[in-house]
């Protein structure tokens, strides 16, 4: 059942629950159980309690939403979600093109030079809208090279979904930025692997483009952050990266786990035990900037917090789905497994590959199967598959194997 756009808040029925999404604040709320009953009570009778006031403050609800919420909550009784997943992806990660200005050493993409067919893309957006997907994250290659970019962003945001872009910054100038914002773009993430060109260029190209883009963004109203891939050859630079991000007024620094690339020997650049501990210590000390962690770093996230999060861990097939430049759905941008069906709903509900991701905790081998963080982590299949190739292998070099 299609969700309903309620002003800037989108609401969607889930299995005995609802999801609410505020694209202005980028706030997502999951409500079930007693809280759902309280919300239903308010929607039905207007009876307000402390919980309703909390929701209004965030905000994820307004007084005008009562009627619509009532019908969505009632429909939640009949919804059936795939195993351990939502009824639809929260977000779609779309590879607009495999073309790029650069040929970064660490790139995991192939050599093809495709643009995603606009018809396929528009169909995917339509299907996403029908399923009430909340967010679309655009990437590539270099998404700024995509010829229909502005139209696509407009289409996404007109449907009520939010839109973000991950880019090297190459080609981003004042005029383009203005157009992107005019089309409704919500967020930009700039890829930068070092605080200096010297560090950055060990694994990426286009340092100047990235820095100039950050400079441009820092004078705009658009939300933006930095993507930084944690590698052995740039880990010591992290404190300086954080300083740089803070100086540019970046909303966040997103620390991604290095994944096997086509050109590099993974074992040479993946983090050692010492690197992991250093990463942990820098994150713990950082108070000046919001740090995000790639879900491939879920083990670290659990370790930092001493607990799991209810929706934490690998989100492939549970919270998001990827669409590649050839028009195939994949569990994740880093996984080469292509789906046969070109239909979003069909893929989400019936894909056997997605089912494998959804049953990870039932089949993972040691050391993951005995870890207390299993339900909130599940390791990274992209790294595992490109390693020894066994899908359900545990993570051999997990940070949680290192005593605290």
């Amino acid at each position: 059942m299609r969700g309903v756009v309620v002003r800037m808040i989108q609401v969607r029925a889930e299995e005995n629950a609802i999801l609410l999404w505020n694209k202005t604040t980028s706030g997502t709320a999951y409500i079930s159980g007693d809280e759902l009953l309280a919300l239903y009570d308010w929607a039905y009778s207007g009876k307000e309690n402390g919980f309703i006031r909390r929701l209004k403050k965030l905000p994820v609800i307004h007084d005008e939403d009562r009627v619509v919420l009532l019908s969505v909550i009632e429909s939640a009784k009949y919804k059936k979600a795939p195993l351990r997943s939502f009824c639809a992806p929260e977000s779609l990660h779309i590879e607009l093109t495999s073309r790029c200005h650069y040929h970064c050493p660490q790139c995991y993409k192939g050599t093809s030079q495709n643009d995603l067919s606009i018809d396929t893309l528009l169909l995917a957006i339509k299907q996403a809208h029908e399923l009430s997907v909340f967010q679309v994250a655009l990437g590539g290659g270099e998404p700024l090279l995509y010829p229909f970019l502005l139209d696509v962003i407009k289409e996404i945001t007109t449907c009520g979904m939010s839109c973000s872009i991950t880019t090297s910054g190459a080609g981003l100038d004042h005029l383009l930025l203005k157009k992107l914002m005019g089309a409704g773009l919500n967020h930009v993430q700039i890829s930068l692997n070092g605080s200096t060109n010297e560090v950055h260029s060990r694994s990426r190209q286009g340092y100047l483009s990235g820095v100039e883009a950050l400079h441009l963004l820092s004078h705009s109203n658009l939300s933006y952050g930095i993507n930084w891939v944690a590698r052995r050859d740039n880990i010591d630079d992290l404190p300086d990266m954080i300083k740089l991000a803070a100086e540019f007024g970046s909303n966040n620094i997103n620390i991604l786990r290095y994944k096997p690339s086509l050109k590099e020997d993974y074992a040479q650049f993946c983090l050692t035990e010492e690197n992991l501990l250093f990463l942990e210590s820098v994150i713990r000390k950082t108070k000046t900037l919001a740090i995000k962690l790639d879900s491939a770093f879920s083990a670290l996230l659990c370790r930092l917090n001493g607990r799991i999060s209810f929706f934490g861990g690998c989100g492939a097939g549970r919270r998001f789905l990827a669409l590649d430049a050839d028009g195939f759905y994949r569990p994740c941008s880093h996984i080469d497994q292509k789906e046969i069906s070109g239909n979003l709903a069909d893929t989400w509900y019936h894909s056997k590959k997605l089912l494998q991701f959804r049953t990870l905790e039932d089949h993972l081998s040691s050391p993951c199967n005995s870890c207390s963080y299993l339900d909130g982590c599940r390791g990274c299949r992209a790294i595992i598959i490109k390693g020894d190739g066994e899908f359900y292998s545990g993570e051999p070099n997990c940070i949680n194997a290192i005593p605290m």
Partner: protein, 405 residues
């Protein structure tokens, strides 16, 4: 369940929330909700601490929040003091009293007290006893497996058994410690207030020292403990006190330990509250000093409860045996005594206040002793116990001087 997080999805990286987990943010919200409970005194700042190598380390509220957000924290303690029931707003007071009917079984005094009140005593410090509430913040999963199927069968003891029994490491866990001698109504109000904002809260009441839920020491104190009996001050405070003391209606005492706990009669008045008291004797004041104190309190522009507390003295009503000279008086008094007439039943308070511009004095006696007090007052009015004045004067050393009370 309710979880909330903020963040835009980024292609190639499923990272819509930052390292501060939604559960940790919610835990901070919970603590903030706890701090906002209107029962708590804003005059006494919360005390927040943890232990490191057996040493208590105090932290601020902001540091508490930061620690919870970081997910990295030892067992944390947050102590709050409650307001006296007479310091609450009228609406809140009404709400508190309405909770009494939910107590199972109902307490003995419920429905029997016309003007319920409690001891007019300021809470001056934190203690594990009355009026202090401690929130214990622990890492998730700490209480996993603590509670059993059998626990969930005790009515009112466990709400949401599935949640309590869960060993789900994603669930935050808080423990609220109160008592001994906390008010049942206060505890239930706190739970209701928290549940109002956190409907998914699963709660489990801890068994007290006698293995019970409501009958043990935890809720031993009562908002119905005393009955208030109020009268206008006629002529003067001094005249009122002279009259009350010469009939032995107001005789101060202090509770002390001499081979056992006893109520020791005093020739001075024992104040129920005394700022900056350093030793027990600091609470004792002479008749003259007491009159000065009361007149000063009545003249100062402070709230009623503060005046009551400033003027409150511990009193012990005379026992029937003191009136043996008049057997009829004794009989009348004994008729209205409850069977269980331990010494403490005679204890109570006397205090003064201004009500609608009129100076008043009030007895606060054990809820079952109002009839006894009224009979005493009748006996005074009808002059049936005039003989007691002579006894009083003799006790004072044969003088008619009230200042030697």
């Amino acid at each position: 369940m309710f979880l909330y997080w903020e963040g835009y999805e980024i292609d190639g990286s499923d990272t819509d929330f930052d390292i501060v987990l939604p559960e940790n943010r919610q835990a901070v919200e919970f603590v903030d909700c706890f701090l906002s409970i209107p029962l708590f005194s804003s005059k006494m700042k919360p005390i927040i601490y943890y232990y490191k190598k057996n040493k208590q380390i105090k932290i601020s509220i902001q540091e508490l929040r930061n620690r919870i957000l970081s997910g990295d924290y030892p067992e944390l303690f947050l102590n709050m003091n409650c307001l006296h029931i007479e310091e609450l707003s009228a609406d809140l007071t009404k709400k508190i009293y309405s909770i009494s009917k939910t107590r199972d079984p109902l307490e003995k005094a419920y429905g029997k007290v016309e003007n319920p009140c409690t001891a007019p005593v300021h809470q001056t410090g934190f203690s594990r006893g009355e009026m202090t509430v401690q929130l214990q913040i622990e890492q998730p999963g700490t209480k996993a497996g603590w509670y059993t199927e059998e626990d969930s069968r005790i009515e009112g003891y466990v709400n949401h058994p599935e949640l309590i029994r869960s060993s789900d490491p994603a669930l935050s866990c808080f423990t609220m410690n109160v008592g001994p001698s906390f008010y049942f109504e206060y505890a239930m109000y706190i739970m209701e207030y928290l549940k109002d904002s956190f409907p998914g809260l699963g709660t489990c009441g801890g068994l007290d020292c006698v293995g019970g839920w409501t009958d043990g020491c935890t809720y031993a104190d009562s908002i119905y403990a005393y009955e208030k009996v109020q009268f206008p001050v006629i002529y003067s405070v001094k005249n009122t006190m002279k009259r009350l003391t010469e009939y032995n209606l107001v005789r101060s005492y202090r509770r002390c330990y001499k081979k056992s706990w006893i109520f020791e009669a005093l020739n001075e008045f024992h104040l129920a509250n005394k700022k900056d008291a350093k030793k027990p004797e600091d609470y004792n004041v002479s008749f003259t000093k007491y009159i000065e104190l009361v007149e000063f309190a009545l003249a100062s522009l402070q709230d009623v409860f503060s005046t009551l507390c400033d003027t409150a003295i511990n009193i012990m009503l005379p026992k029937p045996q003191e009136f043996l000279q008049n057997p009829i008086a004794v009989k009348r008094l004994e008729e209205v005594l409850i069977e269980n007439d331990h010494d403490w039943i005679y204890t109570g308070y006397l205090a003064f206040s201004i009500v609608d511009g009129q100076p008043m004095y009030e007895f606060r006696v054990h809820w079952s002793m109002k009839p006894y007090l009224m009979v005493l007052l009748e006996l005074v009015e009808s002059k049936e116990i005039e003989f007691i004045k002579k006894v009083t004067y003799e006790r004072r050393g044969g003088s008619n001087d009230s200042s030697k009370s």
